[in-house]
Amino acid sequence: MSFFTSQMRSAFSTSSCLLHIQTCTRLRVVDNSKIGKEAMQAGKPPKVIHVYNKKRKADLGDRVLMAIRGEKKKGVVVGAKHKVQEVLRPRFDSNNVVLIDDSGNPLGNRIYVPLPMSLRAKKDQYNKLISIATRFV
């Protein structure tokens, strides 16, 4: 897609102003799952279509449902650029997501970015995901 060239990027904003992760937010897939890689390379990052909590705003460790390359996939938010910074909650430069299946296992087998330490509190849910992570902050 030539639409997303570097010259054009200054002309209009894509999703950088979306500081909350909510419906219609575009996320960055940070694992090496096939579908995720393809989506990112094609310049069509996944879009949130549902957040699995009552607030409808995803924080670190929350599950989201995404539309990715014509499919519905679930993912875990592992990084967010929060508008309001909180003590001891890492603020990432991008909104990161790791794709998972229904049972909570990641689709890929490698994660490229550090994960937040608070994710380790949910060890029983994301044991596999935590074990393939290389680094925590």
Partner: protein, 280 residues
């Protein structure tokens, strides 16, 4: 010490004496500031957290005194070294989730905010090509250690524009060793000027009068607009300036306590720090 004894007299007698004191100084020492003023300036940069909130409607002297006592007693329990926005630091905290129950973060201090026990600082670093920031309460008891890896200032007092600069400007090596610095004398200023990423940015940085940016990568129309919306008279607004500062007389109360604290506690901390360095 002569200047401090003068200050103490000023404190005890209130405004009247200090006014005449300033008047006499004003006449004699025009080229260089008197020592107590210079000291106050240095301390307010060194310990911005110890100053009370300048909003007059919210000030209370009993609260400020008790808050300061708490801050100084926390500083006695743990070594909180002198640092500035732009210094490279490493902070270790207790963390229930971390292996070994300890979590360390290394980064460059990009801003400090709030007064008193609410004082907070933010560190920024690039880890595995991902920019990460951590915010800390300076007086939180879960902080185990604060190390200053490189004591320095930058050209600006707020480095939040590093979020939109190229990543190499906010990268601090994770295994950096603390650099020794001279105990006495002025703090070195790192005069690095950064190159910005192409827009979109988190804020319109071209309107902020930043000194530490080399290449903006913007068209002329942005700067024209920045000039249009700028408020050049604001830097001359004497009362605006006055309203967001703690008056000098109130600062002396703080710095008098800090002076004693430095003499007793911080000297000891410094000695132990030097010993550690030598051992390593």
């Amino acid at each position: 010490m002569a200047s401090w004894s003068l200050t103490q007299r000023g404190l005890s007698r209130g405004l009247r004496l200090s006014a005449s004191m300033h008047a006499s100084y004003g006449r004699r020492m025009t080229s260089s500031l008197p020592e107590h003023l210079r000291k106050a300036l240095a301390y307010s940069a060194m310990y911005p957290d110890l100053l009370p909130e300048p909003d007059l409607t919210r000030r209370n002297y009993v609260r400020e005194m008790l808050e300061r006592q708490d801050m100084l007693s926390r500083r006695r329990a743990i070594d909180i070294p002198e640092f500035y926005v732009g210094s490279y630091m490493s902070i270790t905290v207790s963390d229930q989730n971390a292996p070994g129950k300890k979590n360390t973060f290394v980064g460059i201090c990009i801003y400090r905010r709030n007064h008193g026990l609410r004082h907070q600082m933010a560190l920024r670093n690039i880890v595995e090509n991902e920019g990460i920031e951590m915010l800390y309460d300076l007086y939180s008891p879960i902080i185990l250690e604060i190390k200053v890896l490189r004591l320095q200032k930058r050209l600006d007092d707020d480095l939040r524009y590093l979020r939109d600069a190229l990543p190499e400007y906010s990268t601090v090596p994770w295994d950096m060793e603390p650099e020794p610095h001279r105990e006495q004398g002025s703090v070195p200023v790192d005069e690095t000027r950064v190159i910005m990423k192409p827009r979109p940015w988190t804020q319109r940085w071209e309107r902020k009068e930043l000194k530490g940016v080399k290449e903006w990568g913007l068209e002329d129309r942005f700067f024209k607009r920045a000039v249009e919306v700028s408020k050049p008279w604001e830097k001359y607004d004497l009362m605006k300036e006055y309203r967001c500062m703690v008056p000098l007389e109130d600062q002396y109360v703080v710095w008098k306590e800090v002076e004693e604290h430095r003499k007793t506690i911080e000297e000891e901390h410094k000695r132990s720090r030097r010993r550690k360095l030598l051992d390593a």
